[in-house]
Amino acid sequence: MRGFEPVPAWAAAATCAALAPASAFAIDYLSAEQAAKLMFPQADRFESREVVLDAQALQRLDAGRMRARSARWPVRVALRGSDVLGYVVVDEVIGKFELITYAVGLTTGGAVQQVEVLSYRESHGHEIRLAAWRRQFVGKTAAAPLRVGDDIANISGATLSCTHVTDGVRRIVAVIDWARQHGGLS
């Protein structure tokens, strides 16, 4: 099974470009770089990797109702010297009508360390960027339900944004969990 592929230089460059903040949008709170540094302030560098899910992994995500959406997942690995501190994944989901860009920081054990909202463009529901709401994800692993109305409380008036970001975090946690099990991130 192919869990992780070393990527050539041109692909790594493309990955870095994909990790850059989305071109100007309504409210850009943070860039991907700022979010990564915020999540892992002790890191001395971030290296780009790409998790490539195989067919079986994609099917497993779909079976878990996580709608895999993509086989290729750019990941930033936070490093201090040769020590891996954790991972950062930047993703986008549709809120109600528009895209929400967010970043998930994970520990080397695959638990959520931090969630940051990078850009929010809807007229309503800005409250998902509140620290109190995002803190609910901290420590959650692939074993957690990670569902609104279960272990994640909703925000009244921002139900769709909450649901879709929560679904996105659950998907990222599953992708990183799969990559860790298949030795793709060490």
Binding site: W10, S70, A71, P74, V90, E92, E98, S123, W133, N154
Partner: protein, 436 residues
């Protein structure tokens, strides 16, 4: 746009051409190395061109980039990576919509049983640039609109929003007023029960919209504020011969920016706090003149306090709202003798509890119960003995039922409603709703 197949053919032709050149001229080793480098550069350029084309195709048909797993062994590189590709694919104009089809069967007066396509709303949002967008919703009520039918076509929203900075935005046009829990979140998938609650229909006249300008501020401490100036109500069109004013005093005199009388400008504001996940505490207020220089001056004031708490599978909410109209003694004097005079005050409150008892995949079942009390004519100004109308008794309604979510965005609803005062209104309701 060249087809990827053409690119591949060009690549093959380039390779063949270069190979032929190499064989014909028996060049030196250095020359061979130079040509190989040139070839590698050409291949890299073609690869980049091919990748661009694939991204463009994925952008043109985002659905194709989504879920389905490739067959085992298929190269996963064909699927675009997550990230900004999706952002580039985001169109600047998006469509949305919602609808509700309701069946109401009064249990004591079954001859009044009715099925109705209550409303179908189509929305268009357009983003002019990164900070400016337009939001609009067109509503068709009761399926058919003609001279002989009850249908109605109306604009529910039509406004421009400009984001000034991460905290503040300004909105101008026709927008929903920020009072209560339902008015700004009125899609059938967003509330429990087939019908909208009575308090936020009879007292807060949902879907209530006005034309004006408002400022929206969203702060890091969980507080969201909205305030501004807008058009208001028109008491000069109060029809004392109709029961409409008794069903919803403000619903009978709203203007909805349809050639609205606008001499009197209203002020409004709302504050909501969501600092603790799952908890919402807030309130809103509106006050504005409503006679527009055509009758004795009168002011309509409406305010509400609301709370919603969604711990785990629970969804609990409560709301109180009260409205007053000033100078009604003077306004009512020429209307004495008619059945429906203008009330001095009206109010309502409800508490509601829902619990998600079952969930499998996208299916969720959430039974709920709601108790509400409302009075559309809580008091009348004194017109003198024998003339002053009696205040109406408080109506109390108990609603029990369930929302069954088929998939996010589609809901089937059923409930039973029991009225304390007007028992003839007791009914069972079925509904189908969707929103996207």
């Amino acid at each position: 746009m060249p087809h990827p197949g053409l690119i591949r053919a060009a690549l093959a032709a380039t390779l063949a051409g270069n190979a032929a050149t190499v064989l014909a001229q028996t060049p030196t080793e250095a020359e061979l190395a130079r040509r190989l480098e040139q070839l590698a550069a050409e291949v890299a350029a073609l690869k980049a061109q091919l990748a661009t084309l694939q991204q463009q195709r994925a952008g043109a048909a985002p659905a194709a980039a989504a879920p389905s797993a490739p067959p085992p062994g298929a190269p996963p590189a064909a699927t675009p990576a997550v990230g900004t590709d999706a952002a580039r694919a985001q169109p600047s104009t998006t469509l949305s919509g919602y609808a509700e089809i309701n069946y109401n069967r009064p249990t004591r007066q079954t001859q009044n049983t009715q099925a109705d396509l209550r409303r179908l709303v189509l929305g268009v949002q357009h983003r002019f640039d990164d900070k400016t967008k337009m939001v609009s919703e067109i509503e068709l009520e009761h399926a058919v609109t003609s001279a002989d039918d009850a249908g109605e076509v109306a604009l529910e929203q039509a406004y421009i929003e400009r984001q000034l900075n991460p905290t503040w935005a300004v909105r101008g046009g026709l927008f929903l007023m920020p009072l209560g829990l339902l008015n700004e979140n009125h899609e059938p998938t967003a509330y429990y029960g087939v019908e909208r609650n009575f308090v936020e229909t009879a007292i807060i006249p949902s879907t209530w919209r006005e034309g004006g300008v408002q400022v929206v501020g969203a702060f890091n401490n969980g507080i969201t504020t909205q305030f501004g100036i807008s058009t208001g109500f028109d008491l000069t069109k109060w029809d004392a011969t109709s029961s409409e004013g008794q069903e919803s005093p403000l619903g009978a005199v709203h203007q909805e920016l349809a050639q609205s009388k606008a001499r009197d400008i209203a002020l409004f504001g709302a504050v909501n706090w969501r600092g603790i996940p799952g908890l919402l505490l807030g309130g809103g207020a509106f006050s504005g003149g409503a006679t527009h220089g055509q009758a004795p001056s009168a002011r309509v004031t409406l305010w509400d306090l609301h709370a919603r708490w969604t711990p785990g599978r629970w969804d609990l909410s409560a709301l109180y709202t009260r409205g007053t109209i000033s100078n009604t003694a003077t306004l009512n004097a020429p209307l004495v003798g008619n059945p429906t005079l203008i009330p001095r005050s009206f109010d309502g409150a409800y508490v509601q509890a829902a619990y998600k008892v079952w969930q499998q995949a996208d299916y969720t079942l959430s039974p709920f119960v709601r108790w509400e009390q409302f009075n559309t004519a809580k008091s009348f100004a004194d017109l003198g003995p024998g003339i002053t109308p009696d205040a109406l008794p408080n109506e109390r309604v108990l609603t029990a039922g369930a929302n069954f979510q088929l998939t996010p965005g589609v809901v089937v609803k059923a409930d039973v409603q029991r009225f304390k005062q007007n028992k003839d209104n007791n009914r069972v309701n079925l509904g189908l709703g969707w929103a996207f």
